[in-house]
């Protein structure tokens, strides 16, 4: 988790940082004296990375409607259903532009995506606001995906 005050630094670092600098920092921390065995690095919990997502047709209507209500609470503030960018990109066409597994990981594993995924990093450079972890479970993310498909005209 990045603290708010370091956010700008992180944004800058994202474009230039390499794995070496992180390794060096880890080395430095390892070599410095530790007061106790109980002193542990700060843990950070994310959802497990998804490797594949299975889509079915026709759409699951219950998921579409559940996805819509999650969208209203947790996503609508930043994402419109058109192609217009608000804080983040509009959702229209997203299911044609991105793989389902990319969408799912972006929702549930945003920290990992911003660290590893070039497309996600490009979006951060455009939007300049880190996509927040909105504490969405994999099941709920799947329902949101179904709602996105419906928003893109799938039946």
């Amino acid at each position: 988790m990045f603290s708010k005050t370091t956010l700008l630094t992180v944004l800058l670092a994202l474009s230039i940082a390499s794995c070496t600098s992180k390794k060096q920092a880890d080395e430095a921390a390892k070599n410095s004296p530790t007061p106790s065995e109980a002193a542990t690095p700060q843990p950070e919990v994310h959802g497990a990375e998804m490797k594949s997502v299975e889509l079915t047709t026709p759409l699951n209507k219950e998921w579409v409607s559940a996805g819509k209500s999650i969208y209203d609470t947790k996503c609508l503030a930043c994402h419109k259903l058109t192609d217009e960018k608000l804080v983040g990109p509009g959702w229209s066409g997203v299911t044609r532009k991105r793989e389902p597994v990319w969408i799912m990981n972006m929702i549930t594993n945003v920290e990992m995506m911003l660290e590893k995924d070039e497309e996600a990093q490009k979006l951060l450079e455009q939007c300049l606001v880190r996509m927040p972890n909105q504490n969405v479970t994999q099941d709920d993310a799947r329902k949101i995906l179904e709602f996105m498909r419906s928003n893109d005209g799938e039946k």
Partner: protein
């Protein structure tokens, strides 16, 4: 300065006996630290401390949280105080927490921490803290580090021997430091102050704690002779059913206590069989009396507190019950009254005594069953000193105050006047080590010191005087704590660290008992605040008479709505702000120009309400006060205030252009 009246007496005492005792003057401050101290307190960037140190704030009415061994300050928790930094006590939801039978009391003097225990060991659930001035006990949830409950103590004044708790957190206690007149209805009648001996009484209250929710209630109270109850500790193991209280001013003086309450060679430690009291209370042997006290509870799902005035309490009279309360003579004006981890030894600290008396629980039991009394004090039996004494530590130092334990058979006693910590063997009553403190130590803390299983490793001194230890800041200097390594035979000074308010008692608990339970966000789905907007579609502005409710949301990096018109002079505006974020460490702030109360900080998933009464016509900015994102500076809006009776309709919006796309 933090001197209390008795300190003057110490000064007199010093001048008489300083030459007889070692270590009255601290060693040269700069020579006290040995070479490897820095590495023992260094916590590398990105690493955690091993212990939380939960520290009372004294006259700031707050609790502060430090890491050990680094001494880094993590958080100041407002308890009996308002905090403009986050709106605690200013927001509509938290104002009820500071309600009392005297009305809104947004300050206090908080002295002692008690961390919840199960089977006499830390369980990492709650921290309790007392308010000395307007008697109250607060419960802080160690998952949220927020004050969840405050209960006022009826029939009490000067709630000092508090909130110490029993081994399974069955009860927290509250004893009157200031006795005061109480008639048969336990009310506070109008009588001459000079009638102390006839009319003044003390009480000790047992505050029940629900084992699941932590909710408190005034379970029962004991009506006691008018003396000053100072500090207290529960029994442990074999003495589980008992509670011990130090008492001074058994002279029953009502003026110039500095002299008049220092006449007798011995005062008392009071032993209370709380288990029996509990039985008597349940059996209806108490008197139900009419009282008024506030009980304030914060509801985590509504994100709001309620204050209820309660009207009854049960008062037990130990004089008629006979077998629940006993006095033990204790030299002289005892302060600390500390029970060792085995539960067998009770250590008194006579502030004006040249010995540390150690009482034996098994001897106390025998003396009670043998009725080995030397007399009565105001109807309460007084046990014979020699019959209950394990022994005395002779000439340990000057001005003993408090004792903590390491679980290895040693006790650590703080000495205010001679500015030192003295380590001694409990069984043998022998001093084995002493270290200077800088300066004039009050309380001290060993992690887990007041439990059956101390975690040991360190002792922390909370000092009353700090001059020459830190860069000066005018007449008022920082407060100071000092960390000592006690893992070896000799105590070693490792670190000075500044503290806020005036720390009295503190406890330290292994981080491993607290960090896994941390609340990171409030789930937006579980938000039951009546004015929550769970998503921007629920945002709205509506009028009820002259009250305008703004039900709004915040998320990186905008408010919805952020343009509001139609507010009129004479209106009261309530901004109910819901933070839609669901990520750890992403609070948003909210502020409006000219607000007479505070800003508010809203945690992820939470709703907070700021009341604003505009005092002039114009357009007023609102903005986020907590740097939240790269576009934080863009997180702002406007409220238009028109004159009373103006023809401006109540409207609200965010991003008109964006609205069209919806």
């Amino acid at each position: 300065m933090k001197f209390q009246p008795y300190h003057l007496l110490f000064a007199v005492l010093i001048s008489g006996s300083a030459m007889l005792l070692p270590a009255c003057k601290p060693h040269n401050p700069t020579s006290a630290v040995e070479g490897d101290a820095a590495s023992k307190v260094y916590v590398a960037p990105g690493k955690y401390d091993e212990f939380y140190n939960i520290v009372s704030g004294g006259f700031n009415g707050q609790v502060s949280v430090y890491g050990l061994p680094s001494g880094r300050l993590f958080r100041i928790i407002p308890v009996f105080s308002q905090m403009p930094e986050n709106g605690w006590g200013y927001s509509e939801e938290t104002k009820p927490m500071l309600n009392t039978s005297h009305g809104f009391v947004p300050w206090d003097d908080s002295h002692h921490i008690a961390l919840s225990t199960t089977n006499g060991e830390h369980d990492g659930r709650w921290a309790f803290v007392n308010a000395n001035n307007t008697p109250r006990i607060a419960r802080i949830n160690l998952s949220t580090f927020r004050t969840e409950e405050i209960i006022e103590i009826p029939n009490s004044s000067g709630n000092h021997s508090s909130p110490f708790i029993t081994e399974n957190s069955e009860y927290a206690v509250a004893g009157t430091r200031f006795s005061y007149p109480m008639d048969d209805d336990a009310s506070n009648p109008d009588v001459p102050i000079s009638t102390y001996k006839q009319n003044f009484k003390g009480t000790v209250s047992f505050i029940g704690i629900n084992p699941e929710s932590g909710r408190m209630n005034v379970a029962f109270q004991l009506l006691l002779p008018g003396v000053n109850f100072d500090l207290s500790r529960c029994g442990r193991g074999p003495s589980h059913d008992w509670f011990f209280f130090s008492c001074y001013n058994t002279e029953q003086a009502n003026t110039l206590l500095e002299v008049n309450a220092s006449q007798k060679d011995k005062d008392f430690i009071m032993a209370v069989n709380w288990k029996k009291c509990e039985e008597y209370a349940k059996a209806g042997k108490g008197k139900v009396t009419r009282v008024r006290y506030a009980h304030n509870v914060y509801d985590e799902t509504k994100h709001a507190a309620t204050s209820t005035i309660e009207t009854e309490t049960i008062v037990l009279d130990p004089k008629s019950l006979k077998d629940v309360v006993y006095f033990m003579p204790c030299p002289k004006s005892p302060h600390g009254c500390d029970v060792d981890p085995t539960g067998e030894y009770i250590c008194g600290s006579g502030k004006l005594a040249a010995v540390i008396p150690v009482f034996s629980f098994s001897k106390i039991q025998k003396a009670i069953s043998d009725a080995n009394f030397e007399g009565e004090f105001d109807g309460i039996p007084v046990l014979k000193y020699d019959a209950v004494l394990h022994g005395e530590v002779k000439k340990p130092g000057l001005g003993p105050l408090h004792t903590e334990f390491d679980g290895k058979g040693f006790a650590y006693t703080s000495f205010f006047v001679s500015s030192e910590i003295v380590k001694w063997n409990i069984e043998k009553l022998e001093v084995v080590d002493r270290v200077p403190t800088y300066y004039s130590i009050g309380h001290l803390c060993v992690p887990g010191g007041p439990t059956r299983k101390p975690h040991g490793k360190y002792v922390i001194a909370y000092n009353k005087i700090t001059k020459d230890r830190y860069l000066p800041t005018g007449p008022e200097l920082t407060q100071s704590a000092q960390l000592y390594d006690i893992s070896g035979d000799k105590m070693k000074l490792l670190l000075d660290f500044p503290t806020t308010g005036e720390p009295h008692y503190a406890e330290a608990i292994p981080a491993s008992l607290v960090t896994p339970k941390q609340t990171k966000i409030y789930k937006i789905e579980e938000n039951n605040h009546p004015y929550a907007a769970k998503g921007e579609k629920e945002a709205k502005v509506f009028r009820e008479g002259n009250k305008v409710h703004v039900v709004m949301t915040s998320i990186r990096s905008h408010f919805t709505p952020d343009n509001i018109e139609g507010v009129k002079l004479g209106d009261e505006v309530y901004f109910h702000v819901t933070n839609l974020e669901q990520d750890w460490d992403v609070p948003h702030g909210f502020a409006v120009k000219g607000a007479n109360n505070a800003e508010i900080l809203i945690m992820p998933g939470e709703t907070c309400t700021l009341k604003w009464v505009p005092d002039r016509v114009g357009v007023f900015p609102i903005y986020c006060t907590d740097f939240c994102s790269a576009l934080h500076q863009e997180m702002q809006g406007y409220v238009r205030v028109s004159k009373s009776g103006a023809n401006v309709p109540l409207t609200f919006s965010t991003g008109k252009k964006a609205e069209e796309g919806k």
